[in-house]
Symmetry: C2
């Protein structure tokens, strides 16, 4: 990663935390970096193991706390699909998630749908206000479809 990008990333994290009245700590940076490294929608536990490789003292509770902070300041979103632990997503574009019912993998659907999501005018009752929305599509991915033939 180029130096400029690193600075952008760090300052984005710092700013976002500061805007929400929170501090930039080593652990929060570590968890955020770890999440950005591999955009595969890891669970808190996944992130714990990945983060521990770089900072062995970090604890599970800290990972949860850091993720909570990152969600609060708007840099990370929770993804609740399947029947297991919550997954985390640092992709801030409006996008849908495709969940493979066979292998459990989660794919971001954004490239071809961004306009569609932007223009989607869902009708809501008078007086309601929308903050954001999430779309989860359940199905089977190409790899699993091939294996099933």
């Amino acid at each position: 990663m180029r130096t400029v990008e690193k600075q952008n990333k760090k300052s984005r994290l710092n700013e976002s935390l500061k805007n929400s009245g929170m501090k930039l700590t080593r652990q929060r940076k570590l968890v955020y970096d770890t999440l950005l490294e591999k955009l595969d929608h890891p669970t808190a536990e996944d992130l714990f193991f990945r983060a521990r490789k770089k900072q062995p003292e970090i604890s599970m509770a800290t990972v949860y706390n850091c993720l909570e902070a990152l969600v609060k300041c708007g840099l990370v979103k929770q993804v609740k699909v399947g029947k297991n632990a919550v997954r985390y997503c640092a992709n801030l574009c409006e996008h849908a998630h495709f969940v493979c019912e066979v292998c459990g993998a989660i794919f971001d659907l954004d490239r071809d749908n961004r306009e569609k999501f932007k223009n989607m005018q869902i009708k809501i009752p008078r007086g309601f206000k929308i903050h954001n929305f999430e779309i989860a599509i359940h199905g089977t991915c190409s790899d699993c479809n091939i294996l099933r033939i």
Copy 2:
């Protein structure tokens, strides 16, 4: 409820269970009826307390088992929003859920959006297959907006 409707409901439950190789039991009927009574997206625990009023011997585990059976046979859907227990929904129309971030209430959005959801052509990668999708909209409901002014 008219007798015809009762029969339709019972036979629908019976057929759906049978199609999935499961039996119609008193508890499954009770849990399904209880869910249909009040379409407020209750948790398993909510349903347990409501069902227990009619059949005090029913256990929490049975409520979970019955809900699992109802989900498997396609009559009930799980709704995962907010940070607490899974909620259950017996509305089988394609619809989105509006989740109030203040009071936690969940509203079905279908009336004005059914066509939109049907026609929504989300682009997915080659080889992927869609089974179904869920849309959750987060925001604030009219009651909570009034109280906040």
